[in-house]
Every structure is written in structure tokens, then in C-alpha cells.
């Protein structure tokens, strides 16, 4: 393989160098306000940009569109067309004036010399490192011709596949799926690598995934942070947890890792990974036996409580619960009883817990415990996981009709899809859905027709998907891989064409959260830099070219204005929910949805209309009607590996930025001192961590934040380091996910490895 880093970087950096970019700005008079240092042709924005007073800036509303609980509302300060700094919006009580370490690096992200600046083509073949700058017209022409050629040869466009996930959760970004809808029936990598098992679990139990407002936690009397680490991953929630604690609430963290959140809790309880469901079942048994369950609520609102109780009576032995979870029985009892006595009490369940082969069953067991304690449907209570109740937009950019005469999938599985995939009710055809969590395998195996073109957007496949070796093979057998991104990442290295994409500051959009209840407008704050284009504009260009080549071959609008597209997403339901008359009001700041306490009316969208301890659907799909204990995956190597999210990155974003390297330069593997001693590994030693999937080399840190028998490495993509923890993860599925998201999740945290000193 002749990939040459220098070659790529010189192309990435030189085309429009920072110097000529700045020259352009100077010519337009923009630079007169900059301190002298910035004119240097180095990759950094130089010290010091003085603060000039609120009145000296133009301000814009923006949102952080990343896959983050907090979805911050941002206020962007612009002077002479250049972003100077950002602040968290003061109007949102949730964002409360500040973003996180990642959000505060946005200025650097926008103006980073490492950004993709113009379309490029890898002329030497995938992975060759031999790149050539091409024009947008040229790039779009190649793609359009390839699509039409495939359609002609295959009689369908099922050979064109789209993989898109959470790189940008802005509503208009569903226009990327819209682009694929608009060319015909295609292949989609469907499902979610993130939270599917838990989504299914909550839907089975309550008919929805719906959580109480996190801001209510300030009034909770007892909070269990169960496998969730808001001190790193939802820092804006911490103020409510602190407030509750200050008012006397007990905050308990149950986690295999002594996390940042654990260090700030009242109590930390370490548990063996994958046994949380059993603990919840034991806790339920304890409070029922003590008569602390909410019989009245259960009678009125639940289905199958009797069967559930019979299961606890018969199958759950408290001594076993203690033995298997590793937690002393007295501590479990104390925890269960004090939770049941505090009202309101709440549990927040993280997404890591359901990334096990028994993940969905564990979320179901915890839901059941919260229900038994009578905390569902209560202010400041609830079994919290996430919600999509503020996401009722029009999805106008998504909803594109198929071109006339489109032929699609009629495979043995028949019609299959969910709302987000734009299913056509009037047609006998569907798109073809492949499991996003087995991307490599599915791309390789798809037949009739083979996948020949892959479009990657809002996603860094090589950083986030599993089984790297197979991925390389899968990419190599594709005729054309198009990667639309902001940075030259590992996936781009395996592309044929890369397209530079706008940041949220260069386009319009609208954003909501899957955790809090705020709605934020995202305005275009600056003109797009270099030759970058928004995903919607790229779709429009493709449509224009395809229609030139073959009239009617693409239904996507041939020119778009992101502002108009954003405006089309609003509807009376959203206006009603947020108490506004027009989206224009959002220019004054974010607004919050009218307060609703989930399930307070006792209405559940389950088949029975009640909370279902016993779910026929669960029996049908997953073989167990009750949230019964399911043993976790058996180890296949010496050590369990856990790969949580770090504070420094959101999946593969942010850690690659120059500024982030200043606060967190390199990855480590965290090892319990006992395990390290056994392998003669000392602090700072370089070790190899390996398994049947791959091998990573990195420095060790020794800490009993991780339990013996477990190695911890954060999931991150570095600009200057080949480290990628997902290279060790195989694609073994979690138990649930197929019900609501189209595919099961991945049992990421059931990865096993070994290590040795190098």
C-alpha cells in the first residue's frame, strides 16, 4: 500500500492555503480588524483577538448538531464576516450560557487548516494516497453518470448504497436520505449503532421512548445514574444533579467503571458488567417483599405484574443476585429500599449498558423496577433513557418522491422500513435495507444487484464501524465510494471522491435534542469557506446533473436555499408544542416545549395501553415476554474491553482539532494495577492490546477506576494517530433493536482482548 501522508496533507493544505485564504479576506477589507499576528501563514489563528464589546459584533443563532444529549443552543459572534467566538445561549436554562470543551473549539473547527476545502479524487485507487483536486462539476458529473449507468445495467438503483448516521442531527440533514429517495429505490445501511436495544426495550414496556425533562432532576429525591456518565457526556445535566444533591437527594452511580460522575456522587457501586438487569430484578423483589411497591399504580396502569412477580418469586434468588453482580446483599437491600422510600425518585440509564448481548433485557428490567416503585408518570421521577417527542417536523427534505418507473426491492423479506426511510405505500417496491452494524459484511454479501456505489455522509465509517479488515475489502470491491465530510479522515482515505461539507455555521438548519426539550434555530453565520457546500446543495447539484443527462431521473430540487428548506420543516404541531407562531421567533433565542410529564395520564402506547411487564410483542420478537434475566456474552479472551465516550470527542469528531490536542493529546489504555502487575506493565509503558480482530499499540495508565479484568479505552479519532478502538470490536449483535430501528444494536462492550508489554 503506497499511502503517503505527505502527499495527502500537501494536497489538503496547499490548494487554497491559509495564506491565500487570508489574502482573499484582506482584499475584501475583512482583515483590517484583525490583530497583526493573524496574517502569518501558519495554521493557527493567532493570539490575541481582543474582546471588543457586545455591540461590535453581529450575532447569530446556532446549535450544536452533534450526537450529544445536550444539543447546545449557541450564540455566534461574527465580525466582518469572520466568526470570532461563540457562547452558549443564555436564553436556554439548559445550555445556560456555555457549551462544552468541544463546542468551544468550533471556531478552530471552522477555520482549521485541516478542513477539506474542495472536491478531490483519489486517482491512484482507494488507499493509494494519490489525490487530485477536481471541480464540483467534474465530481458531480462522475457520480451522476455512474448512477445512471448502474440504473441502465441493473434496471434498478439498488446498487447504490447510502450510509449516514449521527455526524449531524440537524433536521434538514435528513435531506441526505431525501437525495437517495429522489433517485429511486436504493440500498440503505439501516439501524443505529447507538441506542437501539434500549429503544426497543422502552417501546416494549411503555409503547414509546419518552423521558422526563432533565431539568426536573433538581427536584428528585433519589437519583440513580445507572451506567451513565453525565460528568463527561452530558455536562449540562450535572447542575441539576448537583442541585438535587445539595437539597439532600442521594445520588448513586452504578457502573463497572468509577466514572467522572461516580466521583461526584453520594455513593458509587461497582458492578460486574452485563449483570445490571439482574440487579434491577433483585431490587424489585426486595421492595415488593417489603411492601414498598406501588400497588395502586400497578393495578391501574400495568399489564402482567402478576406474572412478573411470580417470576421474581420463583427465579430470582437474592444470594445469586449478590454473587453474580458482585454487590453485597445488604448494600442491594439498602439501595432498593431507600430508593422506594424516596418520592420522587428517578433512574437515568446510559446507552453503554444496552451495548451488551443482553442489553435490551437489562433496560427492560430497570424500567420494571422504576414502575414497581411507582415513579413512572411522576414529576422528577421516571425511567429516563431518551426521547424523540420534540422531533415532529415535516422532514420535507427527506420526503422526496421516487422518479417515475423506479424499480426497487422485492426480496424475500418483503417490504421493510421505518418512517425515516421514506417508504412508498403505493408501490410494491421498497429500498433494500442492510444492517448498519454489520456494514462490512453486508456490503460484501449483498447480491442482485451487488452494491457498486457507496455514499458516506455524516459518518466516519472506518472510525465507527466494526471489523476493519472486512471493511477494507468491502470498500475495495466498490466501483465508486463518495465521502462527504469536513475532514480528511480514515474513511476519506478509502474513498474515490471526497466532497467538502459545510459546518453548521455555513448553513441554515433547526435542531432539537433527544434528551432536553429545547428548540434551536441554526442560522448561517458566515459565508461558506473555500468550496464547501451543504449536504442539501450537494443533493441539488446531483439532481441538476442527473436531469441534464436524463430528464426525470432525480426528483430532488435542482437548486436549494438552506434557509427555505429549514423553514419548510416547521408545522402547526411544532409551533403549538413550543408556543411560537413562526420560526422567525427563534431568532430571539431557543424556546422550550410546554411541560408534559411522560405517562402521567396513565396512557401507554403499548398494545394493552398499559405498562407491560408482560409483553406479547417481546415474546414474539425476542423470545421472552417478561424482562427476565439473560446471561451476557461469554468471554472469548482474557480481559473485557470497554470503550466509552470520552469528554474530548463526540464519536470521531473534535479530538482531531488542533485546540483539542492541547488539552488531550493522546490515547491511553486504562488498566487496573493488579492486572498491570501480573503483566509487568508500569505506568506509561507502551502496550499492545489485541484480540482476534486486531491489535492496538498505546500507552498504559494504571488506575483502579477500572475493575480488575477490564481494560478501558476511549472511542476517538485522532488526526495524527492511527489509534481506533473499534478495530478490536467484532459485530456481534445486542439482543434488541430490530423492533423499532430495523436492525439490532452492537454488543460493543462485550469485546474481549488480551495485552502485553511492548
Amino acid at each position: 500500500m503506497s499511502y503517503s501522508k505527505e502527499n495527502v496533507e500537501s494536497i489538503v493544505n496547499n490548494g487554497i492555503s491559509r495564506r491565500s485564504f487570508l489574502k482573499g479576506l484582506a482584499a475584501s477589507g475583512v482583515l483590517s480588524s484583525f490583530p497583526g499576528g493573524i496574517l502569518q501563514a501558519n495554521e493557527d489563528l493567532n493570539t490575541k483577538i481582543p474582546y471588543l464589546g457586545e455591540k461590535s459584533y453581529q450575532t447569530f443563532r446556532n446549535a450544536c448538531p452533534r450526537n450529544c444529549y445536550d444539543t447546545c443552543s449557541i450564540k455566534t459572534y461574527v465580525k466582518d464576516g469572520v466568526m470570532q467566538f461563540i457562547e452558549g445561549a443564555q436564553e436556554s436554562t439548559y445550555t445556560r450560557g456555555g457549551c462544552c470543551v468541544k463546542g468551544n473549539s468550533y471556531v478552530k473547527r471552522v477555520y482549521s487548516a485541516r478542513r477539506l476545502k474542495y472536491p478531490m479524487m483519489q486517482v491512484g485507487g482507494k488507499g493509494s494516497g494519490n489525490w487530485k483536486r477536481i471541480s464540483w462539476d467534474n465530481a458531480i458529473d462522475i457520480i451522476a453518470k455512474k448512477l445512471l449507468e448502474m440504473k441502465k445495467e441493473d434496471g434498478t438503483l439498488l446498487g447504490a448504497a447510502l450510509t449516514k448516521y449521527s455526524g449531524n442531527f440537524g433536521i434538514t440533514h435528513y435531506g441526505i436520505e431525501g437525495m437517495f429517495n429522489s433517485i429511486g429505490y436504493t440500498t440503505r445501511l439501516a439501524g443505529t449503532p447507538c441506542w437501539p436495544a434500549g429503544i426497543d426495550a422502552q417501546n416494549l414496556d411503555m409503547g414509546d421512548m419518552w423521558c422526563n425533562d432533565p431539568e426536573e432532576m433538581k427536584d428528585s429525591k433519589f437519583i440513580i445514574l445507572w451506567g451513565v456518565n453525565p460528568a463527561a457526556n452530558s455536562i449540562h445535566s450535572m447542575k441539576y444533579i448537583y442541585e438535587a444533591k445539595k437539597k439532600g437527594a442521594k445520588v448513586v452511580v452504578i457502573d463497572p467503571v468509577f466514572t467522572e460522575a461516580a466521583s461526584k456522587a453520594s455513593q458509587y457501586i461497582q458492578i460486574k458488567a452485563g449483570t445490571d438487569g439482574l440487579l434491577a430484578l433483585g431490587m424489585a423483589k426486595i421492595i415488593i417483599e417489603a411492601g414498598l411497591h406501588d400497588q395502586k399504580w400497578l393495578d391501574a396502569n400495568s399489564k402482567g405484574y402478576k406474572e412478573y412477580k411470580a417470576y421474581l418469586d420463583k427465579e430470582i434468588k437474592l444470594e445469586n443476585v449478590s454473587k453474580i453482580t458482585g454487590i453485597p446483599l445488604a448494600m442491594i437491600k439498602e439501595l432498593a429500599l431507600s430508593f422506594a422510600k424516596a418520592k420522587p425518585a428517578t433512574i437515568w440509564m446510559g446507552y453503554g449498558m444496552q451495548r451488551h448481548t443482553n442489553g435490551g433485557s437489562m433496560i427492560r428490567a430497570i424500567d420494571a423496577f422504576v414502575a414497581v416503585s411507582g415513579n413512572i408518570g411522576k414529576y422528577a421521577g421516571g425511567a429516563r433513557y431518551g426521547h424523540l417527542s420534540t422531533w415532529g417536523f415535516n422532514y420535507a427534505a427527506l420526503s422526496m418522491p421516487k422518479p417515475e418507473g423506479s424499480v426497487g426491492y422485492t426480496g424475500p423479506e418483503g417490504a421493510k422500513g421505518d418512517v425515516a426511510q421514506g417508504k412508498d405505500a403505493k408501490s410494491n417496491y421498497t429500498d433494500r435495507f442492510l444492517n448498519i452494524n454489520k456494514t462490512a459484511r453486508e456490503l460484501l454479501n449483498a447480491k442482485e444487484p451487488k452494491v457498486r456505489l457507496l455514499w458516506v455522509a455524516c459518518k466516519n465509517v472506518f472510525a465507527q464501524d466494526f471489523d476493519r479488515n472486512q471493511l477494507i475489502r468491502a470498500f475495495q470491491q466498490l466501483d465508486l465510494v463518495v465521502v462527504a465530510d469536513q475532514f480528511f479522515n480514515e474513511t476519506a482515505k478509502w474513498a474515490d471522491i471526497v466532497l467538502p461539507v459545510a459546518t453548521q455555521f455555513e448553513e441554515y438548519d433547526v435542531n432539537v435534542s433527544y434528551w432536553h426539550y429545547w428548540l434551536t434555530l441554526n442560522e448561517q453565520a458566515i459565508k461558506p469557506l473555500f468550496e464547501v457546500k451543504s449536504d442539501l446543495e450537494i443533493a441539488a447539484m446531483l439532481s441538476k446533473r442527473m436531469n441534464q443527462l436524463q430528464s426525470g431521473s432525480c426528483t430532488f430540487p435542482q437548486s436549494v436555499d438552506t434557509k427555505a428548506m429549514m423553514a419548510k420543516e416547521f408545522n402547526p404541531g411544532i409551533y403549538e408544542q413550543f408556543g411560537i407562531k413562526s420560526w422567525e421567533e427563534l431568532k430571539n433565542g431557543p424556546v422550550k416545549a410546554k411541560a408534559v410529564i411522560p405517562y402521567a395520564d396513565g396512557k401507554f402506547k403499548t398494545p394493552s395501553g398499559k405498562f407491560e411487564f408482560y409483553s406479547d410483542k417481546a415474546l414474539e420478537l425476542f423470545g421472552s415476554a417478561l424482562p427476565a434475566y439473560l446471561e451476557v456474552r461469554k468471554p472469548y479472551d482474557k480481559f473485557r474491553m470497554t470503550s466509552p465516550h470520552s469528554r474530548w470527542s463526540l464519536h470521531s469528531q473534535f479530538q482531531n482539532l488542533e485546540w483539542m490536542e492541547d488539552v488531550h493529546p493522546e490515547p491511553y489504555v486504562y488498566i487496573n494495577p493488579d492486572d498491570a502487575e501480573a503483566k509487568m506493565v508500569k505506568e506509561g509503558d507502551t502496550v499492545a492490546v489485541f484480540n482476534k480482530q486486531g491489535l492496538l499499540r498505546l500507552k498504559a495508565k494504571l488506575t483502579d477506576n477500572v475493575q480488575a479484568g477490564t481494560l478501558l479505552m476511549y472511542e476517538q479519532w485522532y488526526n495524527n494517530n492511527i489509534y481506533n478502538v473499534n478495530e478490536l470490536v467484532d459485530d456481534t449483535s445486542s439482543d434488541m433493536g430490530a423492533f423499532k430501528t430495523g436492525a439490532p444494536g452492537v454488543a460493543l462492550h462485550d469485546t474481549f482482548v488480551n495485552f502485553r508489554k511492548l
Partner: protein, 212 residues
């Protein structure tokens, strides 16, 4: 009045939002942080690599801290000393101490880049920017404060772990001589640094799985 940072290690998440908020506001070059989030027990403050020469202050030994790795922190910037060495040493008056607020300001338009302040500061708070050949440091966002805002770091901290207090206000007397644990902060330095600390503690109950 002596404006000062009160940093609360019991709330601090170590999230580095404050340090990045400062970069967001002022665009410090790669490699330079005016505010740094320091891990308790892990770092040697006086070895700050931007402090190009060893300083003359002998550091008091950091009180021992048996804190878990990467969990407990203090966020530190310039300490806006009552007798600032940077002000004393600067030959051109680029460093000044505001008589009203006690904020120690640095003015880059005056700075000639002699580096005296960088050597004199016992805390490595004044940094040397080799590209610009000038010193630079936290000036407690005095421009923002004059504009009715709080500092960028204070505004961004998600949990209120940094506050700006008046050290001369008797209500903060209890913090007067509280040296931070686990960080060799020269509280006895002749410069009389103003930063004060609230110490973190471990959770009351911690259960770890037994060995084996």
C-alpha cells in the same frame, strides 16, 4: 478590592470547558493555554512547560493527595497576585495592576517580548508566544467585565466551579490560606497570589468489587 478566582474542586468535572472557552475567546496558539485544568495529584505546577526558565520561588510541597486518576481537578489561570512579579519586572509597563479591581492586565500592543514576566511569574501563568515573540496571559477578561459580562471561563463552566470573588470581602476569609491539595501551588509566594480553593472529597460511600 482584589478580584480573584475561587475554584471549587468539589464541583469541577475536569471537563476543560473553561480552558477551551478561553481559547474560543482569544484564540491562543496551539500549545498555549492561559487557563489549564490541573489534575490533583498528577502534575507539577512549577514544571509548566511554558515557563521557560525555572523560577526563583521554592515551592511548598503539595499536600499529599490520594485521589483517583483523572477524576479531581482545579482549574488555574493567572492568579492576579497582590504583588505581581510580572508588573514589577516589565520594563515597558505592558503589565499593569488595575488599582480598582486588582486585575493584572497584560497589553500586547506595548509588550516588547523581553520575556521577563515569563521568567518572573512563579506560576507559569505568563506564557511566551514564540511566533509573535511576545508574552501573553489571562487578564481576567477585563474587557468582558467592563462590558457587563462575566469572564469567558466562568460563563462557560457548566457547574459553577469557578467564581470571581473579592478577596478583601470578609465573607471569603475562610478561604484565606487554603493551599490546594495535590497541587504545588506556591501560596506563600511573595507575589501573594489571589486564587482560592474549595477542596474536593471522595463520595461518602464507595464500593469496589473485591479482588479476584
Amino acid at each position: 478590592m482584589q478580584k480573584a478566582f475561587l475554584v471549587d474542586g468539589s464541583l469541577c468535572l475536569g471537563c476543560n470547558t473553561c480552558a477551551m472557552a478561553c481559547k474560543n475567546q482569544y484564540h491562543q496558539d496551539k500549545g498555549i493555554l492561559w487557563r489549564k485544568v490541573r489534575e490533583i495529584g498528577a502534575e507539577e505546577y512549577h514544571n509548566d512547560n511554558n515557563n521557560i526558565l525555572p523560577t526563583l520561588v521554592s515551592y511548598q510541597k503539595a499536600p499529599k493527595a490520594q485521589m483517583p486518576m483523572e477524576r479531581f481537578y482545579f482549574s488555574l489561570a493567572c492568579n492576579h497576585c497582590e504583588n505581581p512579579a510580572c508588573v514589577a519586572v516589565c520594563p515597558v509597563g505592558a503589565h499593569t495592576k488595575d488599582p480598582e479591581t486588582g486585575i493584572c492586565k497584560h497589553d500586547q500592543t506595548i509588550c516588547i517580548g523581553c520575556g521577563g514576566c515569563v521568567k518572573a511569574c512563579p506560576f507559569g501563568a505568563s506564557k511566551f508566544n514564540e511566533k509573535m515573540n511576545q508574552a501573553e496571559k489571562c487578564s481576567m477578561c477585563w474587557e468582558r467585565q467592563a462590558d457587563g459580562k462575566t469572564t469567558a471561563c466562568v460563563q462557560s463552566c457548566p457547574v459553577g466551579a469557578i467564581a470571581i470573588i473579592d478577596l478583601h470581602d470578609p465573607k471569603y476569609k475562610e478561604y484565606a490560606n487554603a493551599a490546594p491539595i495535590g497541587i504545588d501551588y506556591a501560596i506563600n509566594a511573595e507575589t501573594k497570589p489571589s486564587t482560592r480553593f474549595i477542596h474536593p472529597t471522595m463520595p461518602k460511600e464507595v464500593y469496589r468489587l473485591p479482588k479476584g
